[in-house]
């Protein structure tokens, strides 16, 4: 029991909270951009798994984690373009298409993985990203290792939060972007190219979700296995709702879910006699409880999830 109050345990827990929250944060921000333009994308899990594979594969072949992450982002965009074309141009139902991506992308990922590594049954060890301590700041006791000794992607994720907030609230482009999600017809009459904005949203969404997936294989495990995403896309989706479509709220929600993930891993190490399945349920149950107690009825962008027929009056 002592171990619980151990300082070391606490810092470890907080440290891994920040690390575990990072992929969810990337993906939740991806969804924020998408939903702000009126596109509910529940295919995040699929995009993540494809980004995870391509990131891993390219990282492994080139030996450079940065290239891997970039490739992950690009592959995320590529997959999301299917969703974008079908929901924006064809006005296909967004939920259904998100599901289609969720089924298609993991299948494609496992197919490519099997083609690339068909002759080996052992786990392939890929590249992993090195930590980049921030000079001076990382020497502060306790806070230094907690906040200033991470891999670059972690900084990037958390810096994206204020950047997104500024973009949405204080720039013309951001306000235009939001207008598309609130009332596309009015936006169009003001000369905003609604269709283009929606495509831009999909590019951003795909890239961030792809990075979130690549984070898992390059920064978190450095191996690839099927099911590595483990529902994080859906957890990110609930983080967006729980965070009420605001970057800061979304970040807090992600930290909470990251904390649950970190906690269950720590608890597994602390008490090996407890069946690990029960501990692994923690993040999912936490998501459920948080939503049940703090979830709100509709309060997102007004035109969220609706198709936009340009010619229709």
């Amino acid at each position: 029991m002592n171990a619980f109050f151990n300082m070391n345990f606490l810092t470890e827990l907080l440290l891994s909270t920040i690390r575990m929250a990072t992929p969810i944060l990337f993906v939740a921000l991806a969804e924020t951009y998408s939903e702000r333009a009126g596109l509910v994308n529940i295919g995040l899990d699929g995009i993540m798994s494809f980004g995870a594979l391509i990131g891993f594969l390219i990282g492994y072949k080139t030996g450079s984690p940065t290239t891997g992450i970039l490739a992950g982002a690009l592959s995320g965009v590529a997959i999301n373009m299917i969703y974008a074309f079908c929901t924006i141009r064809l006005c296909a139902p967004q939920i259904v298409y998100g599901m289609a991506i969720n089924i298609f992308a993991p299948a494609l990922a496992s197919f490519i993985y099997r083609l690339s590594f068909s002759d080996t049954s052992t786990l392939i060890q890929g590249v992993s990203m090195k930590a980049m301590p921030i000079p001076v700041l990382c020497n502060i006791p306790v806070l230094g290792p907690l906040f200033f000794n991470h891999i670059p992607l972690v900084y990037m994720a958390y810096l994206l939060v204020p950047a997104t907030a500024v973009f949405f609230n204080s720039t013309k482009a951001g306000l235009n972007f939001k207008a598309v999600g609130e009332f596309p017809k009015a936006a169009e009459t003001l000369g905003i190219n609604v269709v283009l904005q929606k495509y831009i949203a999909c590019v951003i969404c795909g890239a961030l979700a792809g990075i979130g997936g690549a984070y898992l294989t390059i920064c978190y495990t450095s191996t690839y296995s099927e099911g590595i995403v483990a529902g994080r896309g859906f957890i990110a989706l609930s983080a967006v709702i729980f965070g009420r479509w605001m970057p800061s709220g979304v970040m807090l929600a992600c930290l909470l879910f990251g904390f649950c993930d970190a906690l269950q891993i720590r608890l597994q190490l602390l008490s090996p006699s407890t069946p690990y399945q029960l501990l692994q349920m923690i993040p999912y149950l936490c998501t459920l409880f948080v939503l049940a107690f703090f979830g709100i009825r509709k309060s997102g962008p007004k035109a969220n999830g609706q198709p936009y027929y340009r010619e229709e009056r």
Binding site: C91, F104, F111, S238, Y309, E312
Partner: protein, 353 residues
């Protein structure tokens, strides 16, 4: 006009299946394999003998159940993505019942199937209740419950009902195995239950007033509400009913095929069910047909792997392409421009009146 729309509803899925097969063939050419030979292997693996056809039907069985689960809930306008969790919980409840109660024979099977369906219904009711009372997104809730159910099943087969050193449960008693049609055609009668449910579901949705109201809620819940339909009650009912179907499916799979729980039980069946229902345009009978096609692909995939060293994942891709094309095709037909084109070029007579 109506007739043409119905025709389109059949043409779109059939065409998407064809196109997906063609793209699958192109992928095989890229791998340096002969696609005709490969599809030959695939179909002979699925239809080569009466035994193989029976095995294909047995594979189709759980897919029909989860497909009906998805179709039934979407018809009411709610997205129950929790088919997998409900399927698993049905099987878990059944294995507890048959291993702990000691009731065997027909009575044991019937009770166990009932309990499985009840467990699925309870698991399916949770997202429904949370949606109605708290306004929660049913998709997220049901997905989270899938993970909880799978982990709980893991707890059951590694700890609670573990059979010795292997991480799996005890097998169900012999007397509670589902009987098969005949030795040469080993199809357990759970398949007939699935087919019966498909027909019954079709009848309910399209030929009863309750089914009509359920579809009305799905098409426009506001209009249904102002017509005095108890919208929330129908939403909850569709969750419970679809959960029960999935739970029954899990129970049937346990008694008919797997006979015990172990890792991977039911994995992916929920999402496959969603895909199947969407391709079948939420028609229960169509769902059974598409489930059978998926089963053919699955059964054939293993022969493809052993016969031609083509990874089974190619079949997953074909399946995924089918859904992408089918959904896009349906959406395409609804576009204002396309509608206009169809009306003006093909249905002149109908337009003039």
């Amino acid at each position: 006009m109506k007739q043409r729309e119905n025709l389109m509803k059949v043409i779109v899925p059939v065409l998407s299946i064809l196109v997906a097969f063609i793209i699958g063939g192109i992928i095989m050419i890229c791998l340096g394999k002969n696609p005709f030979q490969a599809y030959g292997f695939l179909f002979s693996g699925a239809f080569g003998s009466s035994r193989k056809i029976a095995q294909t039907l047995v594979i189709a069985c759980p897919l029909i159940f989860t497909g009906l689960t998805a179709a039934f809930s979407y018809k009411c306008g709610v997205f129950n993505l929790g088919g997998e969790g409900q399927f698993v919980m049905g099987a878990v409840a059944s294995i507890f019942f048959v291993t702990k109660s000691g009731i065997g024979g027909i009575a044991g099977i019937l009770l166990s199937l009932l309990i499985g369906a009840a467990a699925g219904a309870v698991w399916g009711a949770i997202p429904g209740i949370l949606k109605i009372t708290r306004g929660l997104n049913e998709m997220i809730v049901s997905i989270m419950l899938n993970y909880v159910a799978t982990l709980f099943m893991g707890y059951v087969y590694t700890t609670l009902l573990r059979d010795g050193s292997v991480p799996q449960t005890f097998a169900i008693p012999d007397s509670t195995k589902l009987a098969v049609v005949s030795k040469s055609f080993p199809v357990h009668w759970g398949v007939w239950v699935a087919l019966f449910l498909a027909v019954a579901g079709y009848y309910f949705l399209f030929y009863t007033s309750k089914g009509f109201k359920l579809r009305a809620v799905g098409l426009n819940s506001t209009a249904a509400f102002f017509n005095g339909f108890p919208v929330n009650r129908y939403v909850l009912f569709s969750f419970i009913a679809s959960g029960a179907v999935a739970g029954l499916g899990g129970s049937v799979e346990l008694h008919g095929k797997q006979l015990r729980l172990m890792g991977g039980f039911g994995q992916g069946y929920g999402f496959d069910g969603v895909a199947i229902a969407l391709i079948a345009q939420l028609n229960p009978i169509g769902t059974a047909a598409v489930a059978f096609i998926f089963a053919v692909l699955r059964k054939g995939a293993s022969t493809l792997q052993t016969g031609m060293q083509i990874p089974t994942a190619v079949v997953d891709i074909i399946q995924a392409l089918v859904i992408i094309f089918a959904v896009a095709g349906t959406a395409l037909l609804k576009l204002p421009a396309i509608r206009q084109y169809i009306n003006s070029h093909m249905g002149k007579k109908e337009v003039t009146n």
